[in-house]
Symmetry: D2
Subunit: 368 residues, 4 copies
């Protein structure tokens, strides 16, 4: 059969490492993108079979090596604890697989840098799910902020507040630094906040000063906790803006409250992850609530709008779009705004600057 | 092959009639449910091929008959203009297919009743996507209202406001009664509002008094419009509650604004379709905002929660759940709350009562 | 003494009948307007002294006659139970006093009409505190709606929900028809809703169809209650608009929730009494939140803005402005939008139409 | 004279220095408190007469000395540009007058300290209008936070955003440091934010690190502006909490947006000055919206509630309560929570720490 130029791209064949909540999100996105869900690996053949059944994968591989050895797999989704990312991603890239790796890409910037270089050297697509970029209204914010409609950006008001670790009874592998790495709240969610800040403004955090707190040093099963629950940061951007970031996983009443407001000389723009269907745009004369109405959005925001205004799009929709764009990139397209290992490395560097500032009590520069 | 009792249900094989926006929503939901998307039919082989490509279906059937003749198809999704529903659904049922038919099931209650009887007689699963039932917080509202936590329901405050037909330049096949049927705004969206009202309360509208308006008698291509843009209704429920419903497709600034508040003697409960992740619960002492937090919801609401609180679920998620439940029903399960042809028939009867009251200027009883 | 043209108007000297919550609001407004608070009357000298002390009045009159006989009093504020209004107002007018009478002006339209005629015949200022007219953003709504910026008004969505009578333990003289009159919820709060609807649109309700409910037939001290807790109405306006009104004093979680949205062919405008500092204006393209910013409001809204935007104005501010405007009218000015006995009479007629419709089960015309 | 126990406190006699917007707010509050508004002074007899007429004062004094020499004046309200406060307040105290001085009490802490000592030495009541303390729900927040209901406070999320100086065309004497003093945005509004933070928590900011920006170095009439438009701060409290404060007068779309959220180990509490009638209380299980319902508030919040829930109280109501409490203090009562010169001094010290940190790029301790 000769390939019709208008024919759809060939089916992407995906493999999955890890079987938790995020693996379920990844596998749904892969299915929505029309991928073949070849299989997943786990620490044992039995667990791999169980996870494959639960996630609807065709096969359970008893080991990572087995999965990577399967030539039918194009892309590997890495959804394991943080400290295992570098090792698994390195192996996948060396096996010639494209990779989607959960954030943080690595728990130190040396590893993250090496993985970024490796992917580039091998010419492989390597993505990190900074998924809030895929809310259409985050794209609309980016359009407004980067085309000058808000004027020069002078202030940043960001927060990311959660409460799933708000009591000492709440526990998780992420609080154990041997699995989660040296930073917890900031690496886990602060990284999203900074990514969205830099993505929507096109600007960069260059200096910061941070305080951190481990509010609960002991939890149900982890009793000697070193990683932070809470971070307060003052930041300076390359373009001259200043602002504050507050990040907490011990904030009662907040589920997944990423709120980012950028103040420009002409307008303020606020995006709230829990209400991703609207964008608040403040001007001195009038305040507007922009709806996700495909007919009125900038092209890149309209592109990601799958249903009409008023039919809420949500988290899984954003994740689906991220995975679809990654797969499109594997198929040779260049969709706008894919978060790659460069962005994953960037997040690790910002996180390291936060920890360094908090430890030293001084300003930290963020490595470019 | 012997069926392993723990094996997953066999793959449902779906066919689609119609190729518009709703067909896209249906096909995504079928894919998310793991169905085989066998194919779609259209009025010509060429259009069918085009739609199949666009929706990601395996095959384009040049006619409905061809599609219905394919024994590989278990269930037919009917996504065509309203006045064609009865004919297509009848043919599908007679061909032994399970059916999901877009609302309104039919444009008069005689047809709707006949189809309901036919599906029952054939033992086929026959569903109508009153999809707002599938927002977890709509289920939570139902739980609160039916288990007595809100006391006796005494008032209903409902509205469904849209603006996609708010100017005379806006046009659509739905405004043409030869395609849309004798009612437009009420059949299209008022029916959702009443379904959700009756679903969440377990009560029934028994009498109503309605005014209707055709605000724009002429639009871009339809110049002699008979169907209503706007409906105002006062209702009485079997349980004694009274209330108002306002339904409009000419309400500037409202995209898909279904808002339903039920007032009980102990609490008021409000659900807003555009903010489906929370439920407002008012009490004299304190007002609460309930989040869609699976750990704290009633079982049926928790069942539909696919991601943690704060990770917004939306319209496609609800549609996916509806289709998954329909398929589960086809596979022999009995998931809670599936809207069937009985509910589709009910909606047609309520719509007929609205039109009758508006025409006569008197109260109309709603047939049980 | 020669009158200096730039001198302030002479001090208004006010008397008060009744000593409850509303009398406190009236007396504060009189003080803010720079009036001399001459005194108040009550059923006994002792109660009058007590009320005068509490309200900060100069004198307590032991009877209405005594108060009306005092030539130092220009205006009488009537703040007594509803069924006493007609008698007291008649006496005050006959004594040559200007009058501010709490709504309802009277408990039947014959009395209300007679009082209106009497005030006109005597050339006395006679006002009824439909005080929500005095929120600046209600004036702004009126400006937008009457100058055509919202297009032709086609729909009305109104509600007024309270919960201070939401349990059978809540009680008040207003539920006793011998003191409150034949209508309760509608006369008390529905009348505000209709006044604001007619004031902001310049249009009139001409026909309506209503259902009423007495949810609690017995309360703590009133055990044979005839007046309604709850009213659902569908209305038609002279200009052709249709809509719904829901009025309840048994709506848990709602304190004083008057919400009025008018849908025009160009824009929708919504005012919420509990958030009186903003106005929601919906258009198909964009939704705006208008702030009470004096620099950007229409003249009549700016006139009532006493503090800059963002410094919330509230209920007492609105009441102060109403009383100041009444006093200015007594002093010969003609401030825009004063609610007079004509408006008080109108409210009684609308209330009577609601009761008539509910009793008969048919449409009621509202007398012009 | 024997004091009649039931007699009202003797009338307070007030004088006013300055004739701008704040003087109008002060004079309304004095009138509402039943004070005699003896007169105001201005830079000339003519301007004093004009201001007296406009504010409704009995007399216009041609100079401060003249006003202070009037033995009929008990209390002086100082509403002049910042850099004149110290001189005027000193003179008033030395004349034996009680003083209410607009913030900042002085433009350096040496002066503020001296004035505080002087007032104490003379036994005079000396208050600074940190008026947001007088919103009932701010008192309710204080009750919740200080009685332990929110647990241990661990995070602070504060912002105060305005836009009245958001364009270079906006100008005011406050931006001129010879009139406004060395700090502008922080002294003007940041001081309110920190006062409310410390008032509601009972805790103290002990260290901070700040960045400042003068976004517009030139405005309409002031062309060499040294004071800051914008401040970003990270703070540490004595009790161990950390957090961020963002203060801006160049934030388009924000009118007077003071938002303060305190995160405790049991609950988060958020107060928003522009919506002062409610308090948001987040818990992991459920989020509540507390209404200003006198029947359900803590005693000190209930004390300040003058009208029922749902009848919005606002800025002037808060100011009235502040002035009434100051006058009550003059009359010998001890109402809860009056902001005195101690608090005014505290605000100057926090402001100086902000400027010092921004200048040095290091952490600044806040003098106790």
């Amino acid at each position: 059969m000769t390939m019709d130029v208008t024919a759809p791209a060939r089916t992407i064949r995906a493999g999955f490492v890890g079987g938790g909540f995020m693996a379920a999100v990844h596998s749904r996105a892969a299915r929505a993108a029309g991928a073949a869900l070849v299989g997943g690996s786990s620490s044992s053949a039995e667990r791999a079979r169980e996870a494959a059944g639960r996630l609807g994968l065709d096969h359970g591989f008893g080991s990572l090596d087995e999965l990577l050895a399967d030539p039918a797999i194009d892309v590997v989704h890495v959804c394991t604890p943080n400290t295992t990312h570098a090792r698994i991603v390195r192996a996948a890239l060396e096996a010639g697989k494209h990779v989607i790796c959960e954030k943080p890409l690595a728990t130190d910037s040396r590893d993250a840098h090496e993985l970024t270089e490796l992917a580039a050297a091998r010419g492989l697509v390597a993505a990190v799910p900074f998924v809030y970029r895929y809310h259409p209204m985050a794209r609309e914010a980016r359009s407004i902020l980067t085309d000058g409609a808000a004027g020069r950006i002078v202030s940043v008001h960001g927060s990311y507040l959660q409460d799933w670790l708000a009591t000492p009874h709440d526990d998780d592998w992420r609080v154990d630094s041997t699995q989660g790495g040296p930073s917890r709240a900031f690496a886990d969610i602060g990284s999203h906040l900074v990514d969205l800040l830099e993505f929507t403004t096109g600007d960069r955090v260059v200096r910061l000063n941070a305080l951190t707190r481990t509010v609960f040093g002991a939890r149900a099963t982890n009793t000697d906790i070193a990683t932070e629950d809470l971070v307060a940061v003052v930041v300076e951007l390359a373009g001259g803006a200043i602002g504050t970031l507050l990040v907490s996983q011990v904030a009662p009443g907040h589920k997944n409250g990423l709120v980012l407001e950028l103040g420009g000389t002409e307008a303020s723009v606020r995006f709230e992850q829990e209400r991703p269907e609207t964008l608040w745009v403040g001007r001195t004369g009038v305040t507007s609530i922009l709806e996700r109405d495909p007919a009125r959005l900038s092209p890149d925001a309209a592109r990601l709008s799958r249903v009409p205004a008023g039919h809420p799009m949500g988290y899984q929709d954003a994740f689906n779009a991220f995975v679809a764009d990654t797969y499109a990139t594997i198929s040779g397209e260049r969709p706008e705004g894919l978060p790659t290992f460069d962005d994953g490395l960037r997040a690790v560097r910002v996180t390291e600057a936060v920890l360094a500032s908090a430890a030293s009590g001084t300003w930290a520069e963020v490595a470019a």
